[in-house]
Subunit: 132 residues, 2 copies
DNA sequence: CGGTATCCTCCTCGATACTG
DNA sequence: CAGTATCGAGGAGGATACCG
């Protein structure tokens, strides 16, 4: 109970077997499109397929479908098909998806806050490479 | 100023031009190996190349070098070559790397806490697919 | 020890075309 | 509208061999 001077970190590590599984899960959620779709649904609430597509112009329809399906499978969001013509499909975050979105919030804020620092670091690095 | 009932979120959104850059940056840092190396260096402090390699047995030497270089370029860590024989190279997080590591902390905790929920969601989803 | 360099193989991802 | 199906290019990433 004495000599640990760094209580700033609450991100302590865990059972190695669990860690492998966690690492695996990280590999799937730490994906650019997943993060972006989480953000959009968190921000705008329930959205239809085309609404999401318009909100993320860079994504191909294929990737959008694929990512939404995987997120549905992982319990991040619900997909509701309304039996009308023309078809209408709503996507909404589940509570699980919302908690993940909140967890990623810190990363978004970090990226926003440190954009310039990273840019600067790159320039310095590249300059050093040329010099050598 | 009235009817917005959800002040729980402090992850508000931003200038679209900035957002594109942020999204880009996210694409580079939201990488499995980057997250894992950040964790290891945060947890264990300065490490040599082979120490890291041993700590992450699944990574190939190529990916390890590549990821470390990119992180160095982005200002996440420093690479110190000691001119001795045999060669010795130390890797250590910079303050910037440490803040990112902390930002990812929430995601690690989420993954650890929700592993079973995700597993369960997958089983349910897969069962539903077979049924249909 | 701490890398590069090279080759080779998946597998992601985009583009296009078609459907209920 | 909201997909599925198919094709094809390109890059990620592993295996191996060699170097300072």
């Amino acid at each position: 109970m004495a000599a640990r001077p760094a209580p700033e970190k609450n991100c302590e590590h865990i059972d190695p077997r669990v860690e492998a599984l966690v690492t695996d899960l990280i590999g799937r959620v730490a994906d650019k499109w997943t993060m972006i779709l989480l953000e959009i649904l968190e921000e705008k609430g329930t959205q239809r397929f085309t609404q999401i597509a318009r909100a993320v112009p860079d994504i191909s329809q294929k990737m959008l479908t694929q990512t939404l399906r995987r997120m549905e499978r992982d319990g991040m969001l619900t997909r509701t098909v309304h039996p009308v013509v023309p078809p209408r499909v709503d996507y909404a975050l589940t509570p699980l998806g919302e908690t993940l979105s909140e967890a990623f919030c810190g990363v978004w804020m970090w990226a926003e806050a440190n954009l310039e620092r990273v840019e600067h670091a790159r320039e310095e690095f590249d300059a050093r490479q040329v010099a050598v």
